[in-house]
Structure formats: structure tokens, C-alpha cells
Symmetry: C2
Subunit: 493 residues, 2 copies
């Protein structure tokens, strides 16, 4: 199938005129256009930058914009929080951007039903700020700047996913606008429905390629009670994994389980971002909560016994609020700490996002460490002049089998790091895993996705895309290349 | 779009010859053909009964069958447990049936990962029988005869859905065969993935219209510990709902919450199926469990206080195994008890499956009771000769806002009952509800689905169907009529 995009000045002018007739704001300011398309993880070339950014205020505004774009074969990217990785926001066919910064409201809160209806531009942090005093919250916790619209598009998760599940489990219904401007509501408001095809889940994780979400009904949870946080260190990563498997089999459901390797903890210490000096050893963070304090005590008793069995090096569990903040912040600062490992501002922060069945997690981490170490050494030996070694570290949402292996390297080493991360992805696939546990496909993982779901899987996705967006205007080239022979960025694994 | 089905003798003979060449068994025995297509909830006319039933043993067998059918424009229905309601199994275009009774195996059990890979013909009861000794189970609990394949097709749930969620939450990955015989694996085995469009959820609940599932990777849970069951009766249905809302807001997650009205309890007593004589009043069943006994005790304490506040009429909670069985069996016998209310074998058992946000549940039940009572009285007055009154009762998965209003009536009253159930569906929609919380659309709810998701929603489903099954051979006319102007059964709401 061959897709065609109209980038003519005449077409764009008529598009802006048509949309403006409906009193929808827009901006052609180069700085604003650039800010909606060009992020460190989604670089865009100037000739592909959107020619204008629209700021709709309602579902019907979005419908007007898409209908006008569809009639003119104009490509559409969308923007809410802008925190996604892997090029999901990158504009590849010019066109326009729909920014949701004027759609940040809570439309309706139903406390008795534990659900809330929101607009896509609202951030999860802002949402929770507004819910806090009511004792309820929305539990999906990706990067702090993320907004509901993007979180739906990317099917994101975070440290709470082990206990609460991902975005897939927390959306009841969506109002979405199709490429031709048609407005669809995927479900109504009950928690449970068997009413036809699951269009809600079809849109979640489709990365803005099938529809733009303009309203979402989200489930809410009651704020955790009797909170405790623990920090345990071990000699090996496997020991941490063993404890998590044993906890799971004992029927204990903790709030969160995060496991980092020694270099990752070194990086935390080096950054000085944490208010605790940590042993630079494989480290397990545990979060406990429950409506009954005794439940939490029982869980802690089991953890303590398991840690003794595994001869943990250090062990601390606290219910003291200030200390909980200190320990958990040490985990939450990892993203920023990794960036601080750059020796030069031009250095790159590259990482994997593989997930495997939990019983294969230690094999994935061990294999990954070996692959990266070998590549790092080979890179240093490749030159007679001394080369800066890469900094490499691993941190995992261990309860989900999801691990991020990070490499900080000079920009010149990009292709070598790309190569080794491809090997890591292949290793994950060989361990029955996925190449992306939570960050999504975007442009970068398109080749890997082919290896994961096969050409048959990609073909089904292509067919669905073509059925819902026949002209291919919505976020073209993300998840898979729009044309069979893609002319755009992204390489096969 | 106009679909065409080839029912010629020559085409069927060549189909059987082609499939048999691959050593796949089949039967043209009229009794067997009838048994796979004709259930009390899916009646089929003799001229539409499948002309043969195939018994595949593997994914590749199913691929051979579908490829051969697709080439010949032959309609395909499928059969596993045969317990679905609403005509999802009804054959409307002749063709063949694929029966999964030779595909009942556990393919792989991963205890550490709490997942299991199974074939679609395996029943959930049989699966749990095989898992019992390992202390783990699959928690989705529809009718006892249901099999995994049908449970996926119908996106089913049951009494455990309040605690564990529905089929949508318990499937990790599917191997599915498309209409043209292409085999697709939707995901790999990690619990979490953001790898492309969510084809898993697209297939779940598609009622065999998009693909046939040949293998499923299911999540498992640890068997509940410290089990307690309670039975409380009230003056009004609303009191039971109020307790459920209060429990939810207090952060208590029980195992199950089921609420029946007085007539429903009368029906249990009348059937003599339960081993307990119950007060014929609105009755709430509660199931408690947790890894900590104290947690359960805390939950029970809250329930007791709420019941005192609501001036419950009777109150019993037990941890004694024998008594747990007695109390819970009284809930589980409701389906059979309702059938026993028939005064004549030809009487009909008709029912609704609406779900609403829980805060609207009492309004739904009250409104439904009123609608049905009025219709019942009008029906009796419509004749000078005395007419048998309908028996009417309500039971709800109250934690999910899902209620089944049942009517037992003479066959002659069918159209009047159809009419009043349509009014009930409209009432549910006006209360932000769905017309089908767990039973699916099949043929019967197609008109109601249009009212629920709009022509826009149906149009998206149609487009997806057409993209994945261009000739429309897979379970034609279910969820929505295949042709725009349908010639088949099912009426608009």
C-alpha cells in the first residue's frame, strides 16, 4: 500500500483557515512547533517539524481538526506530556501537531464508584494532587511529567504496576476521535462489560496511530494504608529475584518491588541525589501496605525470614514517614542519576526495556551484563588512543520481570551501543520475553517488534490501522513503518 | 458490503476431502452436528445446521481448516463448552463447525511465573482440578461447563470477577488462527508488554468473529487462604448496595459479593437445592480471604459494624468448611433453581445481564422490578382467561454493578418478555450502564449494542472485522449483523 501526504503550502493554508473558522487556536511559532515535536528521545529534522500546532479545547475541536487533516492528506502527531521514549512523538511526514495543553480538566469525579472522567492533557501527578484529600488515587506512575493521553497512547506503567497493573487495567472507557473526525465512545462507565469488540484496549498502546483520545474514564484506588518501605542488599541479583518469586508463591502481594544492580547503586551514590549512603550491592526496594497492619506485619515477617535464608548483607524496613521518603526517593532518583553519569553533555543515555517471565529475569540480567561488558571492552580495544568506557547499570521492576539496562556513552559510540542493545533484545526474546515492557515501540523498536510478533502479527496491525485510518494520517510510521518499504528512520533488529 | 457464502454440495465435498487429506477427523452425523450448534440459548434451524463438524488436534489443524473454508467462502462456527447465552453459537449461514474437544491439554505449567499455557477445549473446572494440589488456581469462574476457548471468545466473568477481574485481566497471550489460516501469537509470556497493538484484547470478547484461539497463556493466582463466608439479610436491596460501597471506600477488597432479592431467595428455598432454609429477604453473600487471618478479621469487623448500622435482619459469618460449603452452594445453585421455577417444560427462562456503575445499581434493580411487575400485571389483564403469572427475581454480582433479572414465563409470552427486557436494557443505558456485563452480544443483544456504542462504534467494529476476515466467514452475524441490511435473526433495541 502506498500512502500519500500533501505538504503543499496551499493545503496547509486552507487547513488553518478551516480550523480557525471554528475558533480553535493554533501557533506557527517555530519555538512552539519545535517544543511539541523535538524531545531528546524524539528528535525531528527541521523539514519534518509540524508546520503548525493546534490547541483544541474539546472533543468536537479535535474532530474538526482531524476531519480537516484527513480531507487534505495531512499527517497528524499529538502531544500531551512529552515524556515518551523511542521516538513515538517524532514527526516523520511533516503535517500538524495536536497539543492537549488546553484539555487538562477533571470532567467528573464519582467517588462512590471509584472512577474519574478526565481530559487527556491532565498529568497523573496533578490528578493525584486533586484526589489526595479524598483518600483515593490513580495508581499508574510513569515519569512525573506524563499526561493521561500519552499514558494511554503508550500503555505505560511504573513502579506501581506490580501491585496495580498497567494502564491496560485502569481505563474503563475512552472517547476517541478517528482519523476522519468520527467520535467514538468505546464503553460506558460500569467496571465490567462484554459489549462487543474491546475498542478501549485497541486504542490503549496504539501510540496515537489509530485515534486521538479526548476523554478517559479511569478507575481509582483507595490510598495505601499502613505504608512500610524496606531496603535489602545481597551478594547477587539472583538472590533478590528468588525472594520475589518466593513472596509471590506465598500469596503475598506487596505494593512495589524494585531491584537494582551494584553499578546502579554506585550511580545513585555518585549523583548525591539520594539522602542515604547505600551499599553498592544488588539492592531490593520493597513497599508494603494494606487495610490491616497485621497483614503488613505478616508480609514483613516472611520477607525477613527469606532474607535470613538468603544471607542478605543489609536489611532495613521502616514505617517512619521521613525515612520512607529517604529510601523511596533513592529509587525514584535513578533516571536523573543516570543522566548525571554523562562525562560530557553530548554523551548519550541509552537503555533497554525488556521484560521476561520472572523466572528468566536473572538470566536476562546476567546475560545482558555479559553482552554489554564484552561490547564495552571491545569498544575500548578498537582504538589505540584511550577511550572512555561506558557506564552500565541495571534496574528492574522485578515483580513484572521488566528491566532497564542503561548505557551512558560518548555520542561516537552510538552505533556500537545500538548493536549491543539489539543483542539484549534478542536475548530477551530467546527467554520468552518482550522487547518493550512499558516504553512502547515508537520508531526505535519497530524492527524488534517484527522479531517479536512476526510478520504475521505486524500484518494484522497494518490491516487494523488501514481499516481505522485509511489515509494513514495519524502518527505515521510509529509501531510499524507505514509503507512496506519504509523510507524513514528505524532499522530491523 | 455484501458477503457471499458458498453452500454448494460440491464445495463442501471438496472442503472435507481437502481437510481429511491432513488426517483431521470430522463427523457428518446429524446428532453430533446438532449438538454443536443447537443449545437452549442458541437454537438453530435445520437448514442452517453446520454440514460437518471438524475435530482439530493442533493449531496447524485449525489453520488447515480455516484456509480451506476461506478459499471456499464457507461459514465457520466454533464450539468448546457450549454454555454461552444469547445465540453466540447459533449458525446463521450453514457452513461447518470447529469443535475443540480434542484440544483439552495443559501445554505448559510455569509455577514460579504463576502462568499456564492451555488448549481452548480445556474447562476451567478441569484446569483448577489439575492445579489444586499446587495451591494455585485460575480465578475466572463462569458456568461450570465453560471451556477456556469460549471464555476468551465471550470475555466472561463470574462471582470471582469482583476480586480478580474478568477474562480480560487473566490472559497474557493467545495463539490465534485468522480466517485465512494465518497463525498469530499476540504476545509473549511476560506479564507486562507494550509491544504494539493489543491483539490479545482485540480477540478476547470478539465471540469467534475475528480469529479462533488455539492456545492461551493464562495468569494464575495463589488459592485464597483463611476463607470465611457470610450471609446477611436486609429489608431492602439498597441496604446491601450501601454496605458494598462503604466496604470499597474503606479500602477492603473482599473475595466475592453477591446480592439477591427476596423472590430470588424464595426460588432457592422452593428448589430445595440448598442445604439451608433462608429468610426470603434481600440477601448479601460475602466471601473473605487473605494471606493474613488478621486482615480477614478486620474486614469482618467492618462488615459487622456496617450491618449493625443498617439494622441487618440476620447475620452469619463462618470459617467452618462444611458451613462455608452450605452457604456458598446456596448462591451457586441459583441458575438451576431458576430453571426449576418452570411450571411446564416448555416455559422459558429469560434474563438480563446489565451492569451499571455501582452507585446506580439500586436504581437499576428497583426500576427493573417495577418494569417487570407492570408488564407481568398487564400480561395477566390482557386475557379474560386466567394466565399464569411470570416468576421474576434478581441476583447481582454487586461489587461489579452487574445484575441478572430473570423471568420464567410461558412460551406464549416470549414477545412480551422480550419487550420488557429491552426496556430494562434502556434503563441500564440511561444509568450509564452496559446491556451486557458478562454474557456477551451474540445475536440477541445486537440491537442493544447499537444503542450502547452508537452506529459509529458498530462501524469501527465492522471495519476491524472486515480487515481481519474480509470474506466474513468467522461466526457471521454475531456481535453485529454481517450485512448492513441483515436478513437474519435479531432486532434493534
Amino acid at each position: 500500500m502506498q500512502y500519500h501526504f500533501n505538504k503543499s503550502q496551499q493545503s496547509i493554508e486552507s487547513l488553518i483557515a478551516e480550523v480557525s473558522r471554528h475558533h480553535i487556536e493554533h501557533s506557527t511559532d517555530p519555538a512552539i512547533r519545535d517544543s511539541k515535536a523535538n524531545t531528546p528521545h524524539s528528535p525531528v529534522t527541521p523539514d519534518e517539524t509540524p508546520v503548525t500546532v493546534f490547541f483544541p479545547r474539546s472533543t468536537s475541536d479535535v474532530s474538526v481538526i482531524l476531519k480537516a487533516c484527513n480531507e487534505r492528506y495531512t499527517a497528524v502527531t499529538s502531544f500531551s506530556g512529552g515524556t515518551s521514549f523511542g521516538g513515538a512523538l517524532t514527526s516523520t511526514r511533516g503535517g500538524i501537531c495536536v497539543s492537549f495543553e488546553r484539555m487538562k480538566s477533571i470532567v467528573a469525579l464519582h467517588e462512590d464508584d471509584l472512577d474519574v472522567v478526565v481530559q487527556p492533557g491532565l498529568g497523573w501527578v496533578e490528578l493525584n494532587e486533586q484526589l489526595k484529600d479524598k483518600g483515593i488515587f490513580f495508581p499508574v506512575d510513569p515519569a512525573p511529567g506524563a499526561s493521561i493521553g500519552g499514558m494511554i497512547a503508550m500503555s505505560c506503567s511504573g513502579t506501581n504496576a506490580y501491585r496495580y497493573g498497567t494502564m491496560k487495567e485502569w481505563v474503563i472507557s475512552l472517547t476517541a476521535v478517528l482519523a476522519d473526525g468520527t467520535v467514538v465512545t468505546t464503553h460506558r462507565r460500569p467496571r465490567k462489560s462484554a459489549a462487543g469488540y474491546d475498542l478501549t484496549h485497541l486504542v490503549i498502546g496504539s501510540e496515537g496511530t489509530l485515534a486521538l483520545v479526548t476523554e478517559a474514564t479511569l478507575k481509582l484506588a483507595v490510598l495505601p494504608q499502613n505504608l512500610h518501605v524496606g531496603l535489602v542488599t545481597f551478594d547477587t541479583f539472583q538472590q533478590g529475584v528468588d525472594i520475589v518469586v518466593a513472596l509471590q508463591r506465598a500469596g503475598h502481594q506487596l505494593e512495589a518491588l524494585e531491584l537494582a544492580d551494584g553499578p546502579q547503586v554506585y550511580c545513585i551514590n555518585y549523583s548525591n541525589l539520594a539522602r542515604v549512603d547505600m551499599a553498592e550491592k544488588p539492592t531490593l526496594w520493597l513497599k508494603f501496605a494494606g487495610s490491616s497492619l497485621q497483614l503488613v506485619k505478616d508480609q514483613i515477617k516472611t520477607v525477613k525470614a527469606l532474607c535470613e535464608e538468603q544471607r542478605a548483607l543489609t536489611y532495613e524496613i521502616t514505617s517512619e514517614n521521613e525515612r520512607i521518603g529517604v529510601l523511596w526517593d533513592a529509587r525514584k532518583c535513578i533516571g536523573r542519576a543516570l543522566v548525571m553519569m554523562k562525562k560530557d553533555p553530548s554523551d548519550l543515555f541509552m537503555h533497554s526495556d525488556c521484560a521476561v517471565p520472572i523466572s528468566n529475569l536473572a538470566a536476562l540480567v546476567e546475560g545482558t551484563q555479559k553482552l554489554i561488558q564484552e561490547a564495552n571492552e571491545a569498544n575500548q580495544k578498537s582504538s589505540v588512543a584511550p577511550k572512555q568506557p561506558w557506564f552500565c547499570a541495571n534496574v528492574g521492576h522485578v515483580g513484572d520481570g521488566n528491566v532497564h539496562s542503561s548505557i551512558i556513552c560518548p555520542a561516537a559510540d552510538k552505533s556500537m551501543v545500538d548493536e549491543v542493545l539489539k543483542k539484549v533484545a534478542r536475548l530477551a526474546l530467546s527467554l520468552e520475553g518482550t522487547v518493550t515492557g512499558e516504553h512502547g515501540v515508537g520508531l526505535k523498536q519497530r524492527g524488534a517488534l517484527v522479531d517479536e510478533v512476526g510478520v504475521e502479527g505486524i500484518d494484522v496491525m497494518r490491516r487494523v490501522k488501514s481499516a481505522m485510518d485509511p489515509k494513514g494520517i495519524l502518527n505515521p510510521d510509529k509501531v510499524f513503518a507505514l509503507d512496506d518499504k519504509s523510507v524513514v528512520k528505524g532499522a530491523k533488529l
